[in-house]
């Protein structure tokens, strides 16, 4: 047991170390000190209560986004549409959050969260249903839905749901009501707790239920699953809808817990980071939590790193890409660590575009 855990952690861990090392070279190339940079990064992400809050806030949508990719991964589907699902989730959660008042919190907040989840479910479900019925590749459809979602949320926040208070000219919704705002307990945002519970639930569903077994069977071999009597089309459609729910919840938590509203252009890119997180976690629902915490920590500390060490915060993106590269190509790390080939180390999405 311990050996297999060690094995599954070794590659991502080595990838992180390698990423940070190459990052250090980049920092030196900018005439800055890697020690100062990384220590201020750590301080900015963990140094005090505020820093911890920032890290957890940053990690929250990453957990949801990572789950949205990891869950679909298990069925052999690549959900690159986390961005669109997150955006529609964010805008509809905000819509319910500011549009209704006078409700008690225990009704209003869940209603807003459910609105976000449903919007995400529709966005993901479209891709899944099209895949199941017509064979349209989910990568193309979800990319397209990202753009459609971007346009739709831009329009909603610039026209019918626009914040018309004062002299506001930005495309954004009004602030959500207090009764729809996700509270923070000390340094721990409740949204983060929700994310952790969701990740645990995903793990349970995938590993301990019949549905999860069917999802994984479809991911391993669609034809074999079909002959075993699993309704492959239904599994693909529903998996994408669940993935959409997860990303939509991520957007909802951003709107209701962090930004307090939806603003066009603010959440751009969050959905794509889910891909990094899921790959770093090797598509394991529980692994998504530490992966998101790591990236969240880097993002939370980036501002302090810029302030203290004069290193551009975009360094974080470079390090993320490097980590992703090393995780995706474990050959390099195995060679460095003199590790022997493990059975399931290479991540596979099954046959690329082909409809099987």
């Amino acid at each position: 047991m311990s050996r297999s855990i060690l094995r599954s952690v070794a590659v991502p861990l080595a990838a992180v170390v390698l990423g940070l090392l190459i990052g250090a070279v980049l920092i030196i190339s900018q005439d800055a000190s890697p020690v100062t940079a990384y220590s201020s990064l750590l301080q900015g992400g963990l140094g005090d209560g505020d820093a911890l809050l920032r890290t957890l806030q940053k990690a929250t949508p990453l957990i949801f986004g990572g789950l949205a990719v990891a869950f679909a991964f298990k069925a052999g589907l690549f959900n690159i549409g986390g961005q669109g699902q997150l955006l529609v989730g964010a805008v509809f959660a905000a819509g319910v959050g500011f549009g209704i008042d006078g409700l008690p919190m225990f009704i209003h907040l869940p209603a807003a969260l459910i609105a976000g989840a449903l919007a995400g479910a529709i966005w993901g479900g479209i891709a899944g249903a099209l895949k199941a019925t017509t064979g349209a590749h989910e990568v193309i459809v979800t990319i397209m839905l990202n753009f459609v979602g971007g346009n739709l949320t831009d329009w909603l926040s610039a026209n019918p749901w626009k914040d018309n208070s004062g002299s506001n000219i930005v495309a954004r919704t009004p602030l959500v009501e207090d009764s729809a705002t996700i509270p923070t307990l000390g340094s721990v945002p409740v949204g983060f707790l929700l994310a952790v519970v969701t990740a645990a639930s995903c793990w349970l569903i995938l590993e301990r239920t019949t549905y999860g077994f069917e999802v994984r069977s479809v991911g391993h071999n669609r034809n074999a699953a079909h002959y075993a009597g699993i309704r492959v089309g239904w599994i693909m459609a529903s998996t994408m809808a669940v993935a959409g729910v997860l990303a939509g919840l991520g957007g909802a938590v951003e709107s209701l817990g962090v930004d307090g509203r939806f603003e066009a252009g603010v959440n751009v890119g969050l959905g794509f980071e889910g891909i990094t997180i899921a790959l770093l976690a090797r598509a394991n629902a529980l692994g998504v939590i530490p992966a998101a915490l790591l990236v969240g920590l880097m993002e939370a500390g980036a501002a302090r790193m810029q302030f203290k060490a004069g290193v551009a915060p975009e360094l974080i993106d470079v390090i993320q890409a490097l980590i992703l590269f090393f995780v995706a190509a474990p050959v390099i790390i195995r060679w460095l660590l003199r590790m022997r080939q493990g059975g399931s180390e290479q991540l596979r999405l099954g046959a690329g575009w082909g409809r099987t």
């Binding site: 099209l130 753009f147 993106d317 999405l349």
Partner: protein
């Protein structure tokens, strides 16, 4: 192409020409602006589609076109800014594209990384690296590529402005479309390329080095995206900005599928997508029509979804059989 499809194509072309002429007589300047914008927006998509096409015809999915555009635009801009030469910048863009293509090949063919993940790595790496090294105070230093009139052709009404008074990379792209068409469907290279995309095992047995040709093609294809990056920085915009490719690398993939992985088909699709972009810009400029620009903006994406779904239903568009699969010499 079947005779009936050819017939439909002619009818469609005639309708489009008639419509363009009708609008041109009604409102000359605006029609010219929209159609010129169409050709302008189509160039980048066509280049990206050719990049994707050469990869996919040889069995390699490339979803890293977005990253290839961005990285190439960055180097095209930077080199022009340093040397003061647009030409050097354009070459640097192409070289960057080739390098990115080689990287994709090294991951997808050499290291046998899942192709979609390999492309994603390129995208994220390009966004991170270009943002990190982006120097806000740097400017291009020279003015971007300007239109070149092709002699008397440029004086023709409508068509002259739209097709024959364009900047150099646009002309080059049009020439490349013809070259790639001939190469893919009339040359030994093209036949081998399609063979390793359809049945690498069979290609191998007749003595084609599958992995080597895939390496070569994916690298070469990167050059097209590289030219696209140069186009973006040196011809379309005239500067570099963070994430300036704006998803058009992904759109190029849709254009490629839409155009059935053929250069001319892709260009037709690119013109259609370009048309919606140009229309959206026109709508924003004047408010004759009361359609929110965001909805016009959605159009190409919704159409792509419908087309991809319909073509799946009718089975009319078939992917290369070995697409997305790692080839192991057996």
């Amino acid at each position: 192409m079947k005779p009936r499809q050819r017939q439909l194509l002619w009818i469609a072309a005639a309708v489009i020409i008639a419509l363009a002429w009708g609008f041109y007589s009604a409102n000359g300047p605006q029609t010219t602006a929209v159609l010129a914008g169409t050709v302008r927006a189509a160039t980048l998509l066509a280049l990206g589609a050719m990049c994707g096409m050469i990869g996919e015809r040889s069995g390699i999915v490339n979803i890293g076109i977005e990253g290839q555009f961005l990285m190439s635009a960055f180097f095209a801009f930077t080199v022009t800014s340093i040397t003061g030469s647009l030409f050097m910048g354009a070459l640097a863009g192409i070289a960057t594209g080739l390098t990115m293509g080689w990287l994709l090949a090294a991951m997808a063919v050499g290291l046998k990384v899942d192709q979609i993940i390999a492309g994603t790595v390129l995208n994220i790496a390009a966004l991170g690296l270009t943002s990190f090294f982006y120097d806000r105070s740097r400017s291009l230093g020279v003015s971007k590529y300007t239109n070149i009139d092709l002699g008397p052709l440029a004086d023709l009404p409508l068509v002259g402005t739209v097709f024959f008074s364009r900047p150099p990379i646009t002309y080059l792209t049009m020439a490349l479309l013809v070259i790639v068409h001939v190469a893919l469907f009339r040359s030994v290279w093209g036949m081998r390329t399609r063979a390793i995309g359809e049945h690498p095992g069979a290609a191998d047995t007749v003595g084609i080095d599958v992995l080597r040709l895939r390496y070569l093609n994916v690298t070469l294809a990167g050059g097209f995206a590289g030219l696209g990056g140069s186009y973006l920085a040196l011809e379309a915009v005239g500067t570099f900005s963070r994430a300036m490719s704006g998803g058009r690398g992904f759109l190029a993939l849709a254009v490629m599928i839409f155009g059935r992985r053929t250069p001319f088909g892709a260009y037709a699709a690119a013109l259609f997508f370009g048309f919606t972009t140009a229309l959206q810009n026109q709508f924003q400029l004047n408010s004759t029509f009361d359609i929110p620009p965001q909805f016009v903006g959605m159009l190409p994406f919704v159409v792509t979804i419908v087309v991809v779904a319909l073509s799946g239903l009718m089975g009319s568009m078939r992917d290369p059989a070995a697409l997305g699969q790692t080839y192991e010499k057996g």
